[in-house]
Every structure is written in C-alpha cells, then in structure tokens.
C-alpha cells in the first residue's frame, strides 16, 4: 500500500496527477471515504494526465462523466446506486469492457461488482486541509487511516 499526506486541495490534485501516470487501459480506480474528502480534486488531478482538456466535476446526478482522452477516462458516482439493476442501467459493465480508465466514487455501494485488480484509493480527512491518501489493491478500512 502507498500512503501520501496532502496539505491542500492543490497537493491532492498533484498526487492524483502523478498517480494517473501509473495507470493502464482497463484499470478501475475505486474511491472509498466520505463527503468533502477530496475525491473530486484527486480525480481532477488524474484528468490532468489522462484527459487534459476535460472539465472535471462530481457526476452526482449524471452518474458518469466522460472526459475523453487518448485512453478514455470515465468518472462514476455510485452514491445513488442501490441494486444490480441500478448499476446495470448506468452501463457500468459495458464501460468495464471498453478499454478505458474508470474512476469510481462511492465504490462501497458496488463493492461486490468491482472487477479483479481494482485499485482502491481512500482519502481520510485529518484536519481542515490535511488529508491522508492511501492507495492499495484491497479496500482500505476506515480506521487504518488514523493508525499511520
């Protein structure tokens, strides 16, 4: 597991930008962690690498944003997904086959449907601007963020 400490939104973005350079087509990046932790900032950083022209916003209502890019970059928000039918009708399973990179917010809601090899990112709020960002191959439990 990799661990980073960020002291600002800009720093969170920069970590996302560097992280995205290590990704490959077909990778799924699953965020866990609460509101306002910086998932969208981190994703904005990823987009700087993957789809520099994109305007990143949280796809709370659209469910999925398509940022384009040389390798297509898609941004999901699963906050409102409760059933397999919900998930099916987002086209999520079709995007998995399409050879792009997926960033998935509120991935807790679809944990059972995430593919093998999913990369998990947990952002933990440590203070007003301080965040701990953990990246690993398994879902990272909430408390681990505080152990450090």
């Amino acid at each position: 597991m990799m661990k980073f400490v960020s002291h600002s939104e800009a720093e969170t973005e920069a970590i996302g930008e560097k992280f995205a350079r290590m990704l490959h087509p077909g990778d799924v990046v699953a965020f866990t962690g609460g509101l306002g932790a910086g998932k969208t900032a981190f994703t904005r950083g990823m987009a700087r690498t993957l789809a520099p022209d994109a305007e990143v916003s949280s796809p709370t209502f659209a469910l999925v944003n398509d940022y384009g890019g040389k390798v297509p970059f898609w941004h999901f928000d699963m906050y409102r997904i409760r059933t397999m039918d919900d998930l099916y009708s987002t086209g999520f399973f079709d995007y998995l086959e399409a050879g792009g990179i997926l960033a998935v917010e509120w991935s807790e809601n679809i944990a059972g449907a995430l593919p093998e090899g999913t990369i998990f990112v947990r952002i933990t709020v440590d203070g007003e601007n301080e965040r701990t960002i953990q990246i690993g191959s398994e879902p990272i439990a909430e408390k681990e963020g505080k152990k450090g």
Partner: protein, 235 residues
C-alpha cells in the same frame, strides 16, 4: 421476405441480410470495438457487397435482449431509425432464442448462456430435432450455481452456446454433460436473429418502430451481494 438484421447484445456486432432459408450476407465482428461505431458501417459494407439498398429490405430484425444495456440500445435504436426512415416494419426477437437458432436444423438440447457479470448468466433452454428450436424454459437471469442445479435434471447432453458458453462450460463440465459450441457457431449472429424473426413472421405481423422495446431481464443479485466486499450499508 428480405430482412436486414442487427445483433449488438454482447461483444459481437453483427449485421446480416436473410431471406427464407438463406443468408444473403453476414458481417460479424468480435474485436472489442464500440458497437456504436461499428454496426452501421458494417451494415453499409454488407449492403454494398449484396448490391442492396436499405429500401430493398421488406423489414428489419433485431435482438431485444437480454444483453448489454448499451449494446441493446444501440441495436434497437439503429433498427428503429432504419424502419422509421424507410417506412417499413420491424421484428424484435429474444437474444437467447436467436442464439439457439445457431443450431437450428440440428438435433441438440441447446442452452444459450450470456455472461451477465458477477457470476450471473442470462440463460434459457431449447430442444431441436432437425427443425426450429422448441423453447423449454423462459429466458431468465440466474447464478451459475442455479444453472448447474437446473441442468442436473436435464437428460442427455446439453450444447452450450453464447458469449457465456465458455464460462458455463468451465463451471459445469464436471457436474453435467455439457458440450461447448464450436467457435463458428458459438456467438451471437445477426443471421440467426433473422431466422428467429422469419419464424415469428410465420404467425405474427411486423410491428411499428415505435412499438419496438428492449427486454431487459432483472438481475436477481441482491443489494446485499452488491455490497459484498465491505458489508457496509448505504451512507
């Protein structure tokens, strides 16, 4: 009766022109490409090769599900537009019935299987003995384990066909007598969609494009399983 047929329910994009007992032409592509970009150029190339225009068709056939959410909407949307624009009717057929038609005229118990992800499949059962496959089960979405259990009471060998056939073959080969369809007969084919549609037209009329609807099957996997890894509830 000449039908232009499209099939985009899974990884294969396929276009065909069929008439009674004959495939005039077919293009099938299973190369991981986006159906929205593949299917209409494929159809256009096919029609050109057949020296045909869209207006030469008597109607349009398409598989309406089960299958990929996006894929079904691409195929059905395309056929709706073609039928609307040319003032012709259309026919929607079950993706699974069309898969069974890959074995039409042969003698097998046929189990079409499509991968619905997360250990689930879309499936059904047909029996053919030299003619058109006769339906034994309704189309259903079940887990591979449930399919294994259901097939254990089926007599004789079962031919697995479809994009989930390999998956099912691996899961079932120890417990049930299953055969894996040969590659040339395994995947979704627009020609088979066409023959299923022609069979339907022996007893029914074509429908207007506005009446053509996808037939998604409900995925039974519970919310509990969707949340499986963390066991956490909705925030």
């Amino acid at each position: 009766m000449k039908l232009i047929c499209l099939e985009t329910s899974a990884k294969t994009a396929s276009a065909a022109v069929v008439t009674e007992g004959k495939v005039l032409g077919e293009i099938s592509v299973t190369a991981g490409l986006t159906h929205s970009q593949t299917i209409l150029p494929a159809m256009e190339a096919l029609l050109k090769s057949c020296s045909m225009k869209i207006a030469d068709a008597d109607g349009f056939a398409v598989s309406i599900g089960p299958g990929s959410f996006t894929g079904l909407r691409i195929g059905i949307g395309a056929v709706k537009g073609l039928a609307q624009g040319s003032g012709k009717g259309c026919v929607g057929v079950s993706t699974l019935e069309a898969l069974a038609c890959n074995f039409s005229g042969l003698s097998y118990t046929i189990c079409p299987v499509m991968d619905a992800r997360c250990g689930q499949v879309y499936t059904s059962l047909f029996w053919s003995s030299g003619g058109y496959p006769k339906r034994l089960w309704e189309d259903m979405a079940i887990s591979l384990d449930q399919l294994k259990e259901k097939l254990s009471s089926v007599e004789g060998e079962v031919m697995l066909v479809g994009d989930g056939a390999e998956l099912a073959f691996a899961a079932l080969s120890g417990s049930t007598r299953v055969l894996l369809a040969p590659p040339a007969l395994r995947l979704q084919s627009a020609a088979s969609v066409g023959f299923a549609a022609l069979h339907r037209l022996e007893t029914e009329q074509m429908i207007a494009p506005g009446e053509l609807m996808p037939s998604y099957l409900r995925l039974p996997q519970a919310e509990r399983e969707l949340l499986a890894r963390t066991g956490k509830s909705q925030p």
